[in-house]
């Protein structure tokens, strides 16, 4: 019998990440050497702080390159990193470093931001607290999922997929173990940018509804179109 799916809520502890970038070369150094926890923080923090990516789907590196360095083209490239490395830290790191190095190669001089405008690398550690809510089957999962807090949606759908979080089950993994291979595959293909967490939550609910055939004909439940936030890969 499949183990129940236990829902949790995250508490995020933010730590100093040891790097500070004041120029493009500093950014490359930081991107190359920072711990994965730091890249995760700067790529995804908006999802738990404002429950969606900022306007344009920019991550912290892209925002800083655009607003502080004034390098709009580089900012666009860094924002697009999700296309090259969807929900994977190390490929994202390699891609961003490559973008920055290529960009640096075409520059005639290095601009250094004024004091106080540097990018301070930070890291995040997640402590998960069980909510006490558990699902033994898809129907129970759907009932809880529909009213789940956004912080928990991100935790189970995204964060647990990217890195182990003690005591937290990953949604796609659990579905796979429960014998729902096709559904698990669809959930695993969900892409984050540029959708708010509420859309992600509704989309997963729609997938579950379809599987459960709640509308009587096996079609999606109508919460959102199934051509929604899916990664083609």
């Amino acid at each position: 019998m499949t183990k129940e799916f236990s829902f949790a809520r995250p508490i995020r502890l933010v730590r100093n990440g040891a790097f500070r970038a004041g120029s493009l070369s500093g950014l490359i150094k930081g991107l190359s050497a920072a711990r994965p926890e730091a890249l995760f923080y700067h790529l995804y923090r908006h999802y738990w702080e404002i429950e969606q990516a900022p306007e344009g789907g920019y991550n912290d590196f892209a925002l800083w390159a655009g607003e502080r360095l004034g390098e709009k083209v580089l900012a666009e490239k860094l924002a697009s990193v999700q296309l090259a490395a969807i929900m994977q830290i190390e490929p994202a790191r390699e891609t961003m470093v490559r973008y920055c190095e290529e960009y640096l190669g075409g520059m005639t001089g290095i601009y250094r931001v004024p004091e106080g405008q540097e990018l301070y690398f930070q890291e995040v550690t997640t402590v998960a607290i069980p909510t006490g809510k558990k699902a033994a089957n898809l129907k129970e999962l759907l009932e809880i999922w529909r009213v789940l807090e956004p912080a928990s949606v991100f935790l189970h759908l995204v964060e647990a997929r990217m890195k182990p979080v003690a005591g937290v089950q990953e949604l796609a993994g659990w579905l796979f173990t429960a014998g729902e291979e096709e559904l698990a595959k669809e959930v695993a293909q969900v892409s984050m940018y540029p959708y708010p967490l509420s859309i992600m939550q509704a989309y997963i609910a729609a997938l579950l509804e379809r599987r459960l055939g709640e509308d009587g004909n096996g079609k999606p439940g109508g919460l959102c179109p199934l051509s929604g936030p899916v990664n083609a890969g």
């Binding site: 809520r9 508490i11 502890l13 933010v14 100093n16 540097e118 402590v127 607290i129 006490g132 807090e149």
Partner: protein
């Protein structure tokens, strides 16, 4: 004042957060924690500890708060160190260092050597790290901006801070690179405290009458102790620019914390700068004037915090919680609270502050939009239950990293 329990916060944060707090407390298995600072009243740290410590106890910890004792020369030294943290050029003599060490030695017996966690707040009690034992976890909580600290002062104090197992700062740029886990945890206000609770119309009227404040002109308010780093004279200059074209009155409300000997001198400078203007009210309030501050913040048309340096700026948090529009300097932790044009307005100069005050006074509807967003920003991030939950998460993480039994 009535005792406040965790359950009283449910309408503000929801029962689920309170359940999490209880669960985190239980995971700590009755661990004990001692907070140590240098003043029982006045200043943000004392205010936080007065509320945090009992709630930690309710969450299941054995929680205690100890105030170290010091002589006037010790507090003069620590005030000099405080200024040195803010980049003020100071003279540091061997006698001063010895005064600091001796005052801390006199307080060694106040350290609870049986406590699992000991938290030293700010720089005054850092010398107590000399008596830590290996069974304990010590945390240094730096509540001020240490970026430009005088290197001689930091060499001295940093040697104590480096002995701790973790440090906490309000902002990433404050981290000193001590070679130990450095957490980022901004402080919080208690929405149910006397300073932040809802007030009745009767209480409001009584306080205003007692303070001699009329509501005949819009109020521009700054609440802070009389400290040069809060730039009260700059606030007067900004107010005077605004007053030329828009009727308003200015209230500077504050006092001197028990560990701040410079307060009286700054107050005199402020009185001098305000001479001849009957619409400037300078209120030297005692640290216990919480209801008075509460009422003043609620009747203000604009709340200003024009600090030159700021650790976090809890007076800004208080004003935002009361849904008042804020104009604040873009320094320190204020930048985390006041998101420009979203939750308030940021200013970088006297002129910028004046222009922002003018904008709000002449467009109250815009001020209300900022104020509403500001209150929600504070509710989500900077109120006591959220702070307590993060604290407990941090203690759990520290316990786990060393296999602390009960975690």
């Amino acid at each position: 004042m009535a005792t406040v329990n965790l359950a009283d916060y449910a309408p503000l944060v929801g029962q689920s957060m309170l359940d999490e707090i209880k669960a985190l407390g239980e995971k700590l298995g009755g661990a004990s924690i001692q907070h140590i600072n240098s003043t029982a009243v006045g200043g943000g740290v004392a205010e936080i500890l007065a509320r945090l410590v009992p709630l930690m106890g309710e969450a299941g910890l054995k929680s205690e708060w100890t105030v170290m004792e010091g002589t006037p020369p010790f507090f003069q030294v620590t005030k000099t160190f405080h200024n040195a943290f803010h980049g003020v050029k100071v003279d540091v003599t061997p006698d001063m260092l010895e005064t600091y060490r001796e005052a801390n030695r006199q307080n060694y017996n106040k350290v609870d050597t049986g406590a699992n966690f000991v938290v030293v707040h700010d720089q005054q009690p850092l010398g107590l790290t000399e008596v830590m034992n290996q069974q304990q976890k010590w945390i240094w909580y730096c509540h001020i901006d240490p970026v430009d600290v005088d290197h001689r002062v930091w060499r001295f104090l940093g040697s104590f801070a480096g002995k701790c197992h973790a440090a906490i700062y309000h902002l990433p740029e404050y981290a000193k690179g001590l070679g130990l886990p450095e957490y980022l945890l901004p402080p919080a206000i208690d929405p149910l405290s006397e300073k932040n609770r809802e007030v009745t119309a009767e209480e409001k009227a009584q306080v205003l009458e007692r303070l001699g404040i009329l509501l005949d002109k819009p109020i521009v308010l700054q609440v802070s102790r009389f400290d040069r780093l809060k730039d009260p004279v700059g606030v007067i200059q900004a107010y005077k620019m605004v007053k030329k074209i828009t009727p308003c009155q200015l209230i500077l409300a504050g006092g001197g914390a028990a560990d701040d000997p410079e307060g009286a001198q700054v107050l005199a400078e402020v009185r001098e700068a305000s001479e001849g203007d009957p619409d400037i009210h300078i209120l030297d309030l005692p640290p216990t004037a919480n209801l008075e501050i509460n009422v003043l913040q609620r009747v203000a048309a604009v709340v200003v915090q024009k600090s030159l340096r700021e650790g976090f700026g809890l007076t800004v948090t208080e004003a935002m919680w009361k849904a008042r529009p804020v104009v604040a300097a873009a320094v320190g932790g204020i930048k985390k609270q006041v998101l420009h044009e979203q939750t308030g307005l940021l200013a970088h100069s006297v002129e910028g502050a004046a222009w922002s005050i003018y904008r709000i006074l002449n467009n109250p509807a815009y001020g209300e939009v900022l104020a509403k967003a500001g209150r929600e920003h504070v509710r989500k991030n900077f109120i006591l239950p959220v702070y307590l939950r993060t604290w407990l998460g941090l203690l759990n993480a520290m316990g786990q990293s060393e296999g602390y039994s009960g975690c």
